[in-house]
Symmetry: C2
Subunit: 217 residues, 2 copies
Amino acid sequence: MNETGKYKMKRKVPEPTLKRLPGYLYYLDKVKEQGIINISAPMIGKDLKCDPTQVVKDLAVTGIKGKPRVGYNTYELIHALEDYLGFNRTNEAFIVGAGNLGSALMAYQEHQSLGLKIIAAFDVDEKKIGTHVGRIHILEYNKLFSLSNRLDVKIGILTTPNSVAQDVAEDLVNCGIKAIWNFTSAILHLPDDIIVQSTSMSSYAAVLLRRLNDSEK
Amino acid sequence: MNETGKYKMKRKVPEPTLKRLPGYLYYLDKVKEQGIINISAPMIGKDLKCDPTQVVKDLAVTGIKGKPRVGYNTYELIHALEDYLGFNRTNEAFIVGAGNLGSALMAYQEHQSLGLKIIAAFDVDEKKIGTHVGRIHILEYNKLFSLSNRLDVKIGILTTPNSVAQDVAEDLVNCGIKAIWNFTSAILHLPDDIIVQSTSMSSYAAVLLRRLNDSEK
DNA sequence: AACATATAAAGAAATAATTCTTTATTTTAA
DNA sequence: TTAAAATAAAGAATTATTTCTTTATATGTT
């Protein structure tokens, strides 16, 4: 027995779908620039090299409906995607670890939209404290505690060495952080209600290298 | 009718499995440091917060067998994983685009093992040409063509602005590159035999933001 | 105004991945 | 030497995701 009926159960949107959504957004921005007002799923599928029914299913999560023989309204679709992804809200984030990757993300977000607004970075390195990357100031790590008291930031980006990742993550949670974007290799052990999104560069490298080796037989 | 028989057909290893393998490697390195000689799948599963049968299936791709009541030999397993992933070979790579992300990757790989050896970076920015990040020299973009003639590099890392990604990717293919690690948002249209691994930061941000919004109801 | 056509929507089927179950093996202990 | 326990391996079942098929609808054309 399934749960169709008057109680619209909140079905979980598949992660592969979520990961594809920013790609549609990037594509649609370019389409809009070309002055194209309506765009069909088969067209999107052709340009993005994916199945048109996949496109329809993915875009359906935003609630936007297309019209047969016309397609989707470009503007409406972009707006719905941004809304759904939260890219048009100001999602404030702290970043801990102002090393290479941390600095890159700070600089990166000024050009590429990640939907995040990094408002401060923290580090323990005396040489980095007081400097800034773009508009983002690098503060002494201990300032994290006082600043989080005043600012209600929900997102923390973890770009520290692996060895301190668990400790810093726990500090972030104690500071009211609800979601952690983890760039370290550490496996974080945190309360279940904390959202952890791990982005491991080596995972991608692994897939690339293996596929390359496979192709060389 | 399936293909069991004397011809062992090369079954494709699932991408989720490949992505998990570097995580096992990182974990096992720490286990080895603690002097633990044998490690069981249930133990690995507990530490890595995943299903023990998943662990067994994942590790099986390396060909290593565990022993009941003992587990896997730590050293043997690490070796097999490195071998399978190609992390113990020198996988030479070029990087194009010495901006924030490119520089971060160059600096990053000197500390964190990605299984790659970036041997040169290319950029068109006069101010960057001639400088270096760590031990990696940043060369004039046009040098890509002459250098690739002499060096037989198979992997290209693409960290350029989106607008030039397609053109640079085509250049890389013409230089004999077989696999491209694409950090841009561009959808690359390349010959089918070229392996493209796209790593979009905004995909991860999207999942994080959406899950955070969902949890806030 | 009716018809043909392109296309989105909804549902079914197929595929892929994970989790569960059973079986077989190896070691330790009685 | 035998029995018990832990665990890997193999296979089945479940779940998730993608692809395929059908249906309905809106638009342009005759």
